[in-house]
Symmetry: C2
């Protein structure tokens, strides 16, 4: 059974005095009003971590009650930071089953009321336990991925900085036309450079903000002007260490392949997209993983301006997570709300794209391991069925999970990528150097060293030694001195 969208709405994103249930109720009322209905067959509600952000449980029930829809079936769905897309997909299947006609989809998060270090700690719980205990945060992992991308595709630190700044400036520019965006102020390169370093090379302006907000939709089996034509979903290894590629998210590629096949389109059909830019490098990688640009070419598209609001393929016309804000559970659904508004021609004169009939949203859960791709199109779009698309290569995680390999490496390796993290979570010293080490045995491990307090003393691909201290790997670069020491230690006893 085909599935359509009859209503869409969202609150202003940013710092709000309202409670989470008030925010979600506001978004719900907007969507219900838009769909011109009052009752629904079910509510599907997405929130990533209501337990720790708000201290509540049984939230699906509360929302039904707050909305005066007491009695209506209400279910909570969660897929980490892609929760908004996950709850939409779940509602899609419920309607597609023919058992429900109209379903209310809700997604929201309330985050700004807590101290930043606590919020960082809560957000870090999406990271695999084996990596989280190093003090790794989401920005730290994203920073390591950005460094690896720059290395693999030959971007100098200056070039990388310039490209990332362009992504941030573009999304702030777009956000300046979005009355619901958290930031409606354009930024210049100077502002970007002045923003503090969160985790080298990512600055504050490379990271989506901490936000409150909610989005809602009504999904229906009754034909409307907007059809849900493709949904794809895939996971990846829990630990980043176990990926075979650090510069591409296999979960996006697999989700995209499924969504394109279901929608019978290929990447060249897509006219605009909302891409999960929780960190600026993720937007670039996202546009490659979605097949818009070849691997390693996404940054060129940014430089050339192709992804700008009036470019060939506008990316994040809403301002993206970067400028619209990122209430983690809500973002995946807010992206889809933007697609609906653009397809209906309701995005407002300044950011409305011309003659768009098909758009795509990509949402990332966790560190790129629970991702969704959703394709929406105008029902009146002339459809030329295509065979879909296959990613140019698949990069399945290959490394073994911790616990399955009792013999862990110790000794030497190369520094595959690294960051120096300045905004550490509760309980960790700052700054903190974190690195991914490729060991001689070919394994990849996370390691740290709190003594390297500047990124300038480290270099990708340099040799490092690896030792275990208090259950954590600590890496140390080979200097002439410790090479000498190592060499001397291995001399026959008679020499010493």
């Amino acid at each position: 059974m085909d599935v359509y969208i009859s209503g869409a709405g969202m609150t202003h994103f940013g710092k709000s005095p309202d409670s989470l249930e008030e925010l979600m109720a506001e978004a719900a009322r907007l969507a219900l009003k838009d769909a011109r209905i009052r009752r629904v067959d079910a509510i599907y509600l997405g929130v990533m971590n209501v337990e720790e952000f708000v201290g509540d449980s049984n939230f699906a029930t509360l929302l039904a009650d707050v909305l005066d829809l007491t009695g209506t079936p209400s279910t909570r769905v969660e897929t980490a930071s892609s929760t908004g897309a996950g709850v939409f997909a779940t509602a899609f299947y419920a309607v597609a089953s023919g058992h429900m006609k109209n379903v209310l989809v809700l997604a929201g998060e309330k985050m700004t009321h807590l101290p930043t270090a606590k919020t960082t700690r809560i957000l870090s719980e999406v990271i695999d336990r084996s990596e989280r205990r190093y003090g790794t945060t989401m920005p730290a992992l994203a920073a390591m991925i950005a460094q690896k991308y720059a290395k693999d595709f030959h971007l100098s630190p200056q070039k990388l900085e310039d490209i990332l700044a362009r992504v941030a400036m573009k999304n702030h520019f777009n956000g300046s036309f979005n009355p619901r965006a958290q930031f409606q102020k354009r930024i210049e390169k100077g502002d970007y450079l002045k923003s503090h370093m969160v985790s080298y090379p990512l600055r504050l302006y490379d990271c989506a903000p901490i936000s409150d907000g909610a989005a809602a939709m009504v999904v229906t089996s009754q034909p409307t002007s907007i059809r849900v034509s493709g949904i794809g979903h895939a996971t990846d290894t829990s630990a980043v260490c176990h990926r075979s590629s650090l510069t591409s998210f296999n979960s996006t590629r697999e989700a995209a392949e499924k969504a394109y096949a279901m929608a019978k389109v290929d990447p060249s059909d897509i006219q605009f997209a909302e891409v999960h830019d929780a960190f600026t490098p993720f937007e670039i990688i996202g546009t490659e993983d979605l097949g818009f640009f070849s691997p390693g070419e996404g940054w060129r598209a940014v430089e050339e301006g192709s992804t700008q609001l009036r470019g060939r393929l506008p990316i994040n016309p809403s301002g993206g997570l970067k400028a619209r804000g990122h209430p983690v559970g809500a973002s995946g659904l807010a992206q889809l709300v933007e697609i609906v508004w653009q397809l209906r021609g309701e995005a407002g004169p300044e950011r409305q794209l011309e003659d768009v009939e098909i758009g795509l949203a990509q949402s990332i859960g966790g560190l790129g391991n629970n991702n969704f791709v959703t394709v929406l199109e105008r029902t009146d779009r002339k459809r030329i069925a295509k065979e879909g698309w296959r990613p140019s290569y698949h990069t399945k995680g290959t490394g073994p999970r911790e616990g399955k390999t009792p013999s862990l490496p110790e000794g030497t390796g190369t520094l595959e990528t690294f960051t120096v993290l300045y905004s550490t979570p509760e309980g960790f010293l700052s700054p903190l150097a974190l690195g991914l080490i490729k060991t001689k045995g070919g394994e990849r491990v996370m390691a740290c060293n709190p003594n390297y307090r500047s990124p300038n003393v480290l270099r990708i691909d340099q040799w490092v030694s690896l030792k275990k201290k208090e259950g954590l790997y600590v890496f140390e670069k080979f200097t002439l001195w410790n090479r000498m020491g190592r060499w001397l230690k291995h001399l026959p006893r008679s020499f010493s």
Copy 2:
């Protein structure tokens, strides 16, 4: 599209040294082996509060990875303590949509590693905030419902005690034949009476235990011996205060009505059931809400032995939540695993029911406000389509939500029901008298009084005064002394 079950499995329930992901993986492997498949189109995973019990987030991704199903779409679903049933319903719609052939459904919880007061606090978060702040716990609310049931249906305290003991003994008896049950030991009335009072009149043996455990199923569009014939889901008011009936759960009644209609059966067709007995009185109320017995008659069925393992309508042949254990997120799915085993004739010689072709599971989320009813039947059952069933009365919540009524009552009222809570959550003194007061204006409010340390000093329907202290209502019974005081206060000044 019809939906079938091809695999079912569960771990032993109880105190386990294994991590939550290990427990869930064990259950998953058993279900996949039973279904004779290795790969699935999606994973739907239910866990109620992984954030606070275990300190993890992004758990759906972790499980896909732990199961060597990296890449497979994986979504977490939550509906409080009915999560196991909620995740099953979600998977049902995904398969019914025709977009997925085989889906792995997982549900689990890990609870025993935390101190009891902390677990009680976490579990209390499912209670509406307006009631939770009084120190109310799930057993306290269940106890107030039990007292009201006894009052309305004329059971003396001794009779109520006897009936609740019978439910506990029956379920422990059934559990003694279940090798996966937490308690496999029969109990006598003496054991029941010796167990400590948790919240008057509920003793420890009236409450399901704190448990670790997981259950799993494979749901498929390929015909097998077991068909999912009916699913119903409904919510009720978040606050118990706002219900028009305290002795019946409208969410069960509405869910049952939907499930019977979908399965084209009525209550008389059901041959056995798993009923959510988190508290012994809930089993009795459940059998009434499901239409097995008239309102107020469920306790008689217990007394007459109709719900025993070899009775006319066996309830909880598995031992129920009471004896099998209650890892909150898992119980709803474990109930369905028992139904599958019974229908297949795989429940083992001692607890296998004879010639059963259709069974039902009822699961309660929160304090009876996010409930599911699921009907499973043998595919070879001779089906005589019936019109379904309508509950004899609907008892929609009528009271207004807090915040909508700025003028709150103060003054006098009657004590509609009460409990004295001995096992209070973190941060509350014990014992604590809690009551629901029907005010003169017809509203119902929660109120407390830490000075009443024994249930013997209170009586249902007695007049009480109501005052607000530090934002909480405190009730006080009228004694001759304070009636006199009140009377004196209202005398003309010249008298005093």
